[in-house]
């Protein structure tokens, strides 16, 4: 299918929605599910909650200012995974290191936005809404979904609570639990569809509650044969910080994504996340261990997905302060690194590395606007219009995708 036909496919699903979900039966669904256009790419967005310390992720060990600023938090260069004679990766990132050496990992340096906000919540809102001046109520993938017709199957997360990222103005991505989405015996598909009907004058929240029933009918078959039962246990071994996120472990989330991609479901964008990066204390060992919890599943996922048109982007709400605090941790900072990997990604380093000495109130000055990266993902992976989704933003990260 060429790009035009692919767009028509997306628009067609949207038209079905607008015409009324009640008319769109389960049998029709069975026919359309499992038929993602093989040429359509898939985006997997990995959110690292808590502010990952970018300086100890892609480490400028060749810059003497690094060891000076970080004292006990700095790594001995011998312990690092070298990329060149200046930069190295954190020892926890062995899988990504190998990928870089094979030319499959793009590292974008100094990613941030104007007037950086050091609040976790405001800054994550800014990243998820892609609106640095005044974060609104829709996420950038939610707005892409609106433009692509609003079919909830196109954008999926595995958390019970909707990340702002997937909230559109007129639609919302689907959140699918680890278990099967089978309906309990107490209700029939016809009743679910009927509860999804709109009522004039209803409050937006109540209309959304109703729309969830309609969405449910469309999402149900999507996952039915794809996903095993969830054991529902708490992940108590996970490192706990005050900005943890509430998703299942990353390997589970990525395994679900892999099964969906392999099953050919129509989903084009997945949101997965890993929390625990808010390391104000005991930062170095804890970060290395959590980066390893990112690296292993990510490397395995990349191998499994090779050739299937999947692109992964990994980001966090900000990096950390250049100078360590006395608890061997770091406080909230600004610009950080962003990773891109997957089919069509040209490996290497992009963007200018921020200076460690010319600082903004103790923090790195950003060199790449994160919207440039989103624009590339929207255009090259999601067949979307970056300007429409990003409030007219005109820049774009070149060459990486």
């Amino acid at each position: 299918m060429d790009t035009l036909t692919r767009r028509r496919f997306l628009i067609a699903s949207g038209v079905t929605v607008a015409a009324g979900a009640a008319a769109y039966g389960i049998t029709d669904l069975l026919k359309s599910a499992g038929e993602r256009d093989p040429a359509a790419k898939v985006l997997v967005l990995v959110t690292l909650y808590g502010g990952n310390d970018g300086l100890n992720t892609l480490i400028p060990y060749g810059d003497p200012a690094y060891a000076t600023a970080r004292a006990d938090l700095a790594y001995d260069p011998d312990k690092l995974l070298h990329l060149d004679d200046h930069f190295a990766l954190n020892p926890g990132l062995t899988g990504l290191h190998q990928l870089y050496q094979r030319g499959g990992l793009a590292i974008v340096r100094g990613v941030g936005y104007p007037k950086p906000d050091r609040s976790h919540f405001r800054s994550m809102d800014i990243w998820q809404t892609a609106q640095p001046q005044r974060p609104g109520t829709t996420g950038w993938l939610g707005r892409w979904l609106d433009a692509a017709g609003g079919d909830p199957r196109l954008a999926v997360s595995f958390e019970p609570v909707l990340p702002p990222l997937l909230a559109g103005a007129t639609s919302a991505g689907a959140t699918v639990p680890g278990g099967k989405l089978t309906l309990p015996a107490v209700i029939t598909p016809a009743q679910v569809e009927a509860l999804g009907g709109p009522v004039p004058g209803e409050s937006p929240a109540r209309a959304r509650a109703a729309a969830c029933f309609a969405d449910l009918m469309r999402v149900q078959d999507l996952m039915d044969d794809t996903i095993a039962e969830d054991d529902g246990a708490e992940d108590d071994d996970a490192p706990a910080t005050a900005t943890g996120g509430s998703a299942p472990p990353l390997d589970q989330q990525l395994a679900l994504v892999a099964r969906c991609v392999e099953a050919g479901v129509p989903t084009r964008a997945y949101s997965v996340s890993l929390g625990g990066f808010d390391l104000h204390a005991g930062g170095r060992d804890a970060q290395q261990s959590i980066l390893a919890r990112l690296d292993r599943p990510l490397a395995a996922f990349q191998q499994r997905m090779a050739g299937k048109g999947v692109v992964v982007a990994v980001y966090s709400e900000f990096g950390r302060r250049v100078r360590a605090n006395a608890s061997d941790g770091t406080d909230h900072g600004t610009a950080s690194d962003l990773f891109l990997l997957g089919d069509g990604v040209t490996g290497g380093m992009y963007g200018e590395a921020p200076s460690l000495t010319d600082l903004d109130d103790g923090d790195l000055k950003y060199t790449v606007d994160f919207r440039d990266v989103y624009a590339a993902l929207l255009h090259d992976v999601l067949d979307g219009d970056p300007a429409r989704t990003l409030d007219g933003w005109g820049g774009r990260l070149e060459k990486a995708l």
Partner: protein, 399 residues
């Protein structure tokens, strides 16, 4: 709005799911008297039996204690009325997680502080919270030394607990962190102590004032700050009234009640804009589940914790220090299935039988069904199915 609708709205927002009997009683005395009676400090709350304090290294014993503490609290939420709902509000506000605190006893200690101070002037509350062992552990107060202060607690204190973004600067965060140095938690006794030699010395400039401050001075600067009351009014509004922010006029009217949580909440519920929020607020999963068990006359089910996990809200485990989301974030496809499943189990356990949509609305204190939902309910003959669909309906989920 009829008087019955007005008091139903008030009871739905101030308590965890009013029963039809509670609505009848409130209609008799009227809106104002109901409001006065509801917002009152709690009476004595029994101490739960948690057993011996586990060895900090014994992970299983710690988890068992935390689970027992949570089970006890779920029962207390169902029994404690409006007072315990305010305790739950403060829990979501000073959102602290047992996942890092690793002590059910310290979590219950924090809740006891909310019961003791949460109804009055916020000054003693903030002072008590700055000494709260669970909060200190949660936000690395433990690790804060004067050599290079740790900013975690100072930042969240101003951003999330007292003032809100925009009312303080990055320099205030750094100065605040210095003032908070020196507090430690003794894990053995479960008490916080001030270790003077770890504290910062010398004057700082904090929120426009320069001096040598201790935590009580800092608490004073926060609660006297002009941003404090409007911030708190907003936070109360999004949990009790609507996920959409109140008008400036409403904020001005509410904050005129002064620096007292009971007075602010009373003013909020008495505000002319409060009535218009009916039918707009998405129930948090805890509100939905505890409310349903109350209305069905059931004890909190064994299954409650698994249900809450499926719905995305486990008390004592907020996803972050920012607390739980409000609004449509709760309205997802997976939560809809989880709600249907939980509703099916609750309906199966219920002793009450309802036979028609009108009786169902009365039992669940729903003002009325939309034509859409009514059409579905009319087609259901089985009382258990009727109940389950009612509990999962948009009209019950968004109140």
């Amino acid at each position: 709005m009829t008087e019955r609708t007005r008091v139903s709205h008030l009871l739905r927002r101030l308590t965890f799911g009013p029963t039809a009997g509670e609505v009848d009683a409130a209609v008799k005395v009227g809106f104002d008297a109901t409001l006065r009676t509801l917002i009152r400090p709690p009476g004595p709350v029994p101490e739960p039996e948690l057993g011996a304090e586990p060895d900090p290294k014994d992970r299983q014993a710690r988890q068992k204690q935390a689970a027992a503490a949570l089970r006890w609290w779920l029962g207390q939420l169902a029994a404690g009325g409006a007072a315990e709902k305010l305790t739950f509000f403060w829990h979501g506000h000073w959102a602290t997680s047992v996942q890092k605190v690793r002590s059910g006893r310290l979590m219950l200690g924090q809740l006891a502080t909310f019961r003791k101070y949460g109804f009055g002037d916020t000054s003693p509350l903030v002072r008590a919270m700055l000494r709260d062992p669970a909060l200190i552990l949660w936000l690395d107060g433990q690790k804060n030394t004067r050599r290079a202060p740790n900013e975690n607690l100072a930042r969240e204190l101003m951003e999330l607990f007292t003032l809100g973004i925009g009312a303080y600067t990055e320099a205030d965060v750094k100065a605040g962190a210095k003032v908070l140095t020196g507090w430690r938690v003794d894990r053995k006794t479960g008490k916080s102590v001030f270790v003077d030699k770890k504290g910062a010395d010398g004057p700082v400039t904090l929120l426009g004032r320069t001096g040598t401050f201790d935590v009580d001075d800092y608490a004073g600067l926060l609660v006297d700050h002009p941003a404090h009351l409007p911030f708190l009014a907003h936070r109360l509004w999004i949990r009790y009234a609507s996920a959409t922010a109140p008008s400036e006029a409403a904020v001005a009217r509410i904050t005129a009640a002064g620096r007292n949580a009971s007075a602010l909440l009373t003013a909020l519920c008495g505000d002319p804009e409060f009535e218009g929020t009916n039918g707009t607020l998405v129930k948090q999963p805890v509100e939905w589940l505890i409310g349903a068990t109350r209305q069905l006359g059931l004890p909190v089910p064994q299954q409650a914790l698994a249900d809450l996990r499926g719905l995305g809200q486990v008390p004592m485990r907020p996803p972050s220090v920012g607390g739980w989301p409000v609004g449509v974030a709760w309205l997802t496809t997976s939560a809809t299935v989880a709600r249907l499943r939980a509703a099916q189990r609750l309906a199966a356990a219920a002793k009450t039988e309802v036979k028609d949509p009108e009786a169902l609305a009365n039992l669940l204190v729903v003002d009325g069904w939309s034509d859409r939902t009514l059409a579905v309910l009319r087609g259901v003959k089985d009382p258990r199915k009727l109940l389950a669909i009612g509990l999962a309906s948009p009209e019950y989920t968004v109140h």
